[in-house]
Symmetry: C2
Subunit: 306 residues, 2 copies
């Protein structure tokens, strides 16, 4: 079982890396003569962050959900890569001065520390726009499933956008140094984190042609995984801070950000996370044996260390 | 004729304003309970720049091209508003520190001067993503013309993106304080400016179902208008600088940006602009009388003062 899981996981990640490399190959020309070729410097700034060793959680969820539902994983590759582009653009912009102002991510300098703020803003814009450009071209290449692809893009746009991830980021930024508040925090986590983990599941469901009950179950699974994921992140931060500062604290002091540990304490946050992971597993029940990989992958995410 | 032009222009601008207002109404809730509702502060930051008195050049071109080609202007409204969102996001991000670092635009404080850099970055991201979200929903609302709408979106994504507007912005930023170079400058203007003026024409052509010759003529018209537009902008800057500084100069000294006046001088730039506007009118010949508004609108753009 462990061997099967590793093989399948490797297959999915391999597909993602291959698709990303094909959609965003290195280019050499400063001012390309041919349409469709990306100028060398812009391409480099995009590749720097897109190929920075991310765990590819969202694309793996998309490919795994697609196969779980009996869909053709070949048709879903582009959407998987596009979701990673959207996730990556949000990280580049999050790291900027005026946002989190971070110098390092995943042990490497952040995009703006290498290329400057202006080029980092453009690299983010470019990844967001290119995500749609790639998905639109993929949709046009599958005219027999055009509507499913458009609905998948629409699900992604909705969860990435003004009432999804960006809504969560906006409220998160607005709430810095505010007193923790359960409604506000629930909104931030549902949208900033959980929406972009639900998006790949719904996109896969549209591409695979799932039924209404499947959508309900996948939405519940994505929401539970997303919220648990964010609480775990906050808990890992608290542990990190506690180790660094030699004391246990419920406040993310450095950032002034609202977190579950700050609101309800570390112990209650751990319980909430455990409950959500259990609920996520529950939501997969209707998919039976075909959910074997998804179940194992959720378990891995549950056990992750930063 | 002048009266007819004014009436038609007013009708197009009215449609654009109405569509934008309908797609982005003011909201009141900080953490909306209902899906699809935009949090109040994020919505305000988007509306601040989108409703800042722009001339709506790109949406007017889209609606006018659609009617010129015999298409249904009602189906094209959303794409027109979406193009204005894309144009507006690019201005918000262009004005940021690290890019042009401007405090004022159109006589009002820039987005980041009012809401801070973080929220301005998000407002731009939000407008870009929302443009696609609105177009995707409009496409799904017209299943009988789904492919045309997807092709229109694809044309917009291509010209707004990594080998279009963003490519031009990236090279522009990279070329600051460099010696002027004709190839580089031609690339910057074709992509930074002309691509987003060609996008509405091609999107209209896909929505209206135009033929190959129409596409060729519209591409030529858009490219000529776009390049002329940018040269005129540079010339207006030179005049402005000359008036302010009491001397005539071919360099945009404040920005260190590459411009036609800096490369070939003011007189040759004026000639190039005149030639391009004439070529633009030529390109409309095949549309005969149905191009009456487009012809008059191009003439207005040619005569504009900043």
């Amino acid at each position: 079982m462990k061997h099967m899981y590793q093989a399948q996981y490797g297959r999915y990640v391999g597909m993602v890396e291959e698709t990303i490399a094909a959609l965003l190959p290195q280019t050499q020309e400063d001012c390309p003569k041919m349409g469709g070729v990306i100028p060398a410097h812009l391409c480099e700034t995009m590749r720097y962050s897109l190929l920075a060793g991310g765990k590819r959680v969202r694309p793996v969820l998309l490919l795994a959900a697609c196969e779980m539902l009996g869909g053709d994983v070949e048709e879903a590759r582009t959407a998987a890569a596009a979701l990673e582009m959207i996730h990556t653009y949000s990280l580049i912009h999050d790291d900027l001065p005026g946002m989190d102002d971070d110098d390092y991510r995943r042990g490497r300098l952040t995009n703006h520390k290498v290329y400057g703020v202006g080029h980092a803003i453009l690299a983010g814009d470019a990844l967001l726009n290119y995500a749609y450009e790639c998905m639109l071209q993929n949709a046009l290449a599958h005219p027999e499933h055009l509507e499913g692809h458009v609905m998948a893009m629409n699900a992604i746009a909705g969860r990435a956008g003004v009432s999804g991830m960006i809504a969560g980021q906006s409220l998160d930024l607005l709430s810095e140094h505010m007193e923790p508040d359960a409604d506000r925090l629930a909104y931030i986590h549902a949208h900033k984190t959980a929406d972009l983990l639900t998006a790949p599941l719904l996109a896969a469901a549209y591409i695979a042609g799932a039924d209404e009950e499947d959508f309900r179950a996948l939405t519940r699974f994505g929401m539970c995984v997303g919220l648990a994921f964010q609480i775990d992140d906050d808990l890992l931060d608290v542990q990190g801070d506690a180790q660094q500062m030699g004391k246990q604290t419920g406040m993310d002091a450095q950032r002034g950000k609202m977190t579950w540990p700050a609101l309800v304490g570390v112990e209650a946050s751990r319980e909430k996370s455990a409950y959500l992971w259990d609920q996520a597993e529950d939501a997969l029940a209707r998919f039976g044996e075909s959910a074997w990989f998804m179940r194992a992958y959720a378990e891995k995410l549950r056990m992750r260390k930063k």
